[in-house]
Amino acid sequence: MLPLELKGVCFQVNGKLIIDGVSVDIGAGSRTVILGPNGAGKSVLMRLCHGLLQPTAGSIAWRGNSGGRSQRQAMVFQRPVMLRRSALANIVYGLKLAGVARTERELRARDVLDVVGLADRAQQTARALSGGEQQKLALARAWALGPEVLFLDEPTANLDPGATRELETIITAIRATGTKIIMTTHNLGQARRMGDEILFLSQGRLVERSPVDQFFAKPASAEAAAFIKGELPWN
């Protein structure tokens, strides 16, 4: 289904331009990190790509096909939304909506729970899990769908360093199965660890696109240079 092609994508709310003419081709393979300060429009851009929002101008197409939303994509949100049922049932729910056969749902759900290290939590109420566990469960729920593209919107923004590390390990494992990872972050360390290429967003505009090494060693734009410099103490 890749590449994902954005042409002059704009998104406007109440006369305010949140995304301002973003054009980019996102191909298969490399891990794409959308980086930028808070309020740059990262999350909105990701929702546009995922199909949760419609651009007010421009077009978004999967491999030249602009109509309809592809089912082979999944998204994990900054704050996971857990249904009031067990961890296992949360994954089964997603599989059911994806049209997976009844007999196969639980097997697949148990598989992914095992991989993210929540096998012993299968029957526990999802909402009673810790923040880190809930985010792992959200990853498992998305991964169980076998997506070709996985969108991650600041998946570790609310987690402590230990949980962040665990989550990044799981993301790396998902990536190893051939799933394209597109994630947003405002954390430079994470961008460096998890990214192959950086899309740098500032005030709704795509300012720069570079391989990760080049981005950090020699940012092409003044905005990116300032952002890296300003953020360095936390790096």
Binding site: R47, H50, L52, Q71, A74, M75, F77, P80, V81, M82, L83, R84, R85, Y93, G94, L97, A98, T125, A126, R127, A128, R141, L145
Partner: protein, 235 residues
């Protein structure tokens, strides 16, 4: 006077203790009418509340305002309207259900369906605000989303349905008008209390009053227990 009241109260307790057959018949009919009405009202009100929560259409706000206003419908007015509909000359007169328990069920259903719809709409809309992106991301259509919300908020909805039952069991105006308060046929707790009080038969009126208040307390306690258990279990 104080002595009269004490005597009446003692006699009332006596009626309850020895399960007086007239008393039991009246309580049973009350429960039958109000439970039937609350079941029908939930069948109409919950889907309506869910539809209003997840659908966006012209006139939605107006409908919500109307429903909220209908929560305050005076029972006597509902009784009057249903009376006019069901009376021999009315459009539904051929059904011949005026002055039967069926007419009382219809009136109480009309009385509490807006309450269940309006209150559940509020609960479901709050849940929808939380769930919308996640459910749409997983590919849920509106219908699936509505059913998911109904299931996930089921314990809050139980409280709402019980509130509807309390309203039905406690009202006197509507059942008095469309039921006619016929001894042994359409006489329920509230209409009997009104009649016996005016006749001066305080023991029966008081006995029914005690049962009615007891019923309301038990119901609310049950609702509270269910809700607490659910929060502990499902978060």
């Amino acid at each position: 006077m104080g002595n009269d009241l004490g005597q009446a109260f003692a006699q009332a307790l006596g009626l309850i203790m020895r399960l007086d057959s007239q008393l039991i018949g009246i309580v049973a009919l009350s429960l039958k009418v109000s439970l039937s009405a609350v079941a029908l009202a939930a069948l109409v009100g919950l889907p309506l509340g869910a539809a209003l929560a997840v659908e966006r259409f012209r006139g939605r706000q107006a409908l919500i305002v109307l429903l909220n206003a209908l929560m305050g419908l005076p029972p006597v007015v509902v009784g009057l309207v249903v009376y006019l509909l069901l009376s021999r000359a009315g459009p539904l007169g051929s059904l011949g259900v005026l002055f039967t328990p069926a007419a009382m069920i219809i009136a109480q259903t009309i009385l509490i369906a807006p309450i269940i719809a309006a209150l559940s709409r509020q609960v479901l809309e709050d849940a929808w605000r939380e769930y919308e992106e996640q459910l749409r991301s997983l590919g849920a259509r509106r219908m699936t989303a509505a059913l998911t919300l109904l299931w996930d908020t089921r314990f809050s909805l139980v409280t709402i349905v019980l509130a509807g039952f309390g309203r039905a069991a406690a009202e006197v105006g509507a059942v008095m008008i469309v039921g006619g308060n016929i001894d042994g046929v359409t006489r329920v707790m509230t209409t009997t209390i009104a009649l016996e009080t005016s006749k001066g038969d305080l023991p029966l009126a008081l006995g029914l009053g005690v049962i009615l208040v007891g019923l309301v307390i038990v119901l609310n306690a049950a609702a509270n227990v269910i809700k607490e258990a659910a929060v502990r279990r499902y978060g």
